[in-house]
Amino acid sequence: MLKQIEGSQAVAQAVALCRPEVICAYPISPQTHIVEGLGEMVKSGALARCEFINVESEFAAMSVAIGAAAAGARAYTATASQGLLYMAEAVFNASGLGLPIVMTVANRAIGAPINIWNDHTDAMSQRDCGWIQLFAENNQEALDLHIQAFRLGEELSLPVMVCMDGFILTHAYERVDLPTQEQVDAWLPPFEPRQVLDPAEPVSIGAMVGPEAFMEVRYLAHAKQMRALELIPGWADEFRRAFGRDSGGLLHSYRTEDADTIVVALGSVLGTIKDTIDEMRRDGVKIGVLGITCFRPWPLAAVRAALAHATRVVVIEKSLAVGLGGIVTSNVRTSYGGSADAVHAVIAGLGGRSITRASLARVFAAALAGTLEPLSFLDLDGALVERALAREREQRRSGPIAEGMLRDLGVVAARI
């Protein structure tokens, strides 16, 4: 059924169609509309046999989900930004225990400085925690990925994080095709947990494991993620047949067939990149884009194949490995057969800064001209940075950095 709804509501509807049994959440922007939508459905009876728990923190949210999943229930939660970091210990715990919890992360920057706007720092901080991480390009894909996430997680007994850009997707009203309950029921079998509370064999979950088996338990988690790489493409095909659209999978290439320059990105910025590329194609530039849907597990072979003919790669990423450069870029370099120097990291859109077609076009032109640095920051205000550095050179007590920069800009700090 076609509907014009907010991204958060699309996700709430998709999650409800998956018949979760326990939902637990703590309010944090820009995720809150999702769980508010689910709260209303639980109360109205539209979402039957589901318990909704208002918790006291994100740490509690993930811990409640762990308890529910350990008892064999289909559990869901959603968070963003600081909330994801606050629950980090439990996030690792969930994957270590092999519990197929599904969580939406409405991607948002991490403070300090305090910032509520979109980038990928939150999800990237948890990239190696053992969860599968899927990134949605638009609201339709966000909706579809949630349905796929439950099946994927439950098949492999691994938790799945569905990442969608905060505000850009969560708060955008877009047309989405909402599947019927029958369609979802046919695609997503009831949860058959590997761990259940069995009176015939009571077991205490959460064993202490020493050096004799710890590495093997962790290896198995890795092996399961490698198995996910094998399963996901087939499931994307199956999803296409069942629902009539192309959603999910490991990655999506756009106009890369003859491209010698390939741009790599995750999430909603892919739309802007595609528009920019369409313009450049009209001028005869051989450029295309590779969108990564599945970031963990990292589809090493698929990315390598997708980049096989590219002579240069530009990674546009909304995260920064401070002290290194690009996080996505580092992953891309492991997949690129050519010289690592041909892979450029462009850090963009941190803290919600707009990524415009004009700026992207400038970056891509620089890449084609061979003048793009290995690491660059899109639309960085160099003068502002220089003023802060000058302050630090001139006086030992140069004061708090963010407040100094806001003063330089004449922006009132308290207005967030």
């Binding site: 309010p27 922007s29 709260g39 967030i416």
Partner: protein, 280 residues
């Protein structure tokens, strides 16, 4: 401890001297405007200077307060105001440290720190603006929300009994417990000033209406009333009073005698003082 006086002859500062140029972004009618006024009045009454005072907060509408004062301010992460203030006070015991929070920040995500700050009894003044709702995220139930208050997140209400912060504070060892109402900024200022003067951990719960998501809280002005009896220093008696009060008793409700946390170096701990802690 707690009370400080300016150098003789120094001009007294007015409340406005403690207000910064930043225009608050709170909704029109928010109770927190009056709490800001009350804090600045209290600081003027105490003859403090902005540089004698630090205001520490977490996340939420109430936590914007530090930037609206001319004092030192620290706007931290959600729920962590009390431990940040503890570190600040440990490093600079000469400063008067106010900690600003709300019912979401202070009682749920930061609830554990509340217990231990009361226990530790460092000389801090903890001002919690309680409006029984998460305002910044636009209207979700908090720990002090009534069980039947309906919201999108919990239609028909959470069904959970309210958290009772004053009883928790007493049980955890807070040395001063008061309830204030933002609609009476002068009364609120007097209570905050008294809390600052009292040694150890002082807790002021301020009923501060959220007119946007809880418009019915405008009625609080008809419901608040002065506490019928004077503050007690007997925790047992205070417990009975706090457990049975109607939530709208305004005034100092408990004034304990526990000595404030003493620094390892230069502390003035005596055998009598230690014994007093065990009696309290």
């Amino acid at each position: 401890m707690g009370q400080r006086v300016n150098a003789p002859g120094a001009p007294m500062l007015a409340p406005k001297d403690f207000k910064s140029d930043y225009k608050p972004v709170w909704c029109p009618g928010c109770g927190d405007y009056s709490v800001l006024s009350a804090i600045t009045k209290a600081l003027a009454m105490l003859a403090l200077k902005p540089e004698n005072v630090a205001v520490v907060s977490g996340i939420g509408c109430s936590s914007r307060i530090p930037a609206y004062t001319t004092c030192y301010g620290f706007h931290g992460v959600h729920g962590r105001a009390l431990p940040v203030a503890t570190g600040l006070k440990a490093a600079r015991p000469d400063l008067t440290v106010l900690v600003a929070s709300g019912d979401g920040d202070g009682y749920s995500i930061g609830g554990n720190h509340f217990l231990h700050a009361c226990r530790r009894n460092l000389d801090l003044t903890y001002i919690v603006m309680d409006n029984h709702v998460y305002g910044m995220t636009k209207g979700q139930p908090s720990p002090t929300t009534e069980p039947d208050w309906s919201s999108k997140l919990a239609p028909g209400g959470t069904g959970l009994r309210e958290f009772h912060p004053l009883v928790i504070a007493l049980a955890s060892g807070a040395n001063f417990i008061a309830r204030a109402y933002s609609g009476d900024p002068n009364g609120c200022a007097a209570l905050i000033a008294e809390a600052v003067r009292h040694p150890g951990f002082s807790f002021v719960e301020v009923l501060s209406p959220c007119v946007t998501f809880r418009p019915e809280q405008r009625e609080w002005k008809t419901m608040v009333h002065p506490a019928p009896v004077a503050a007690t220093d007997d925790p047992g008696r205070a417990a009975r009073r706090l457990m049975t009060d109607d939530g709208f008793n305004v005034g100092v409700l408990y004034k304990g005698k526990r000595p404030a946390y003493a620094r390892a170096n230069g502390g003035n701990q005596t055998v009598e003082a230690l014994a007093c802690q065990f009696r309290a």
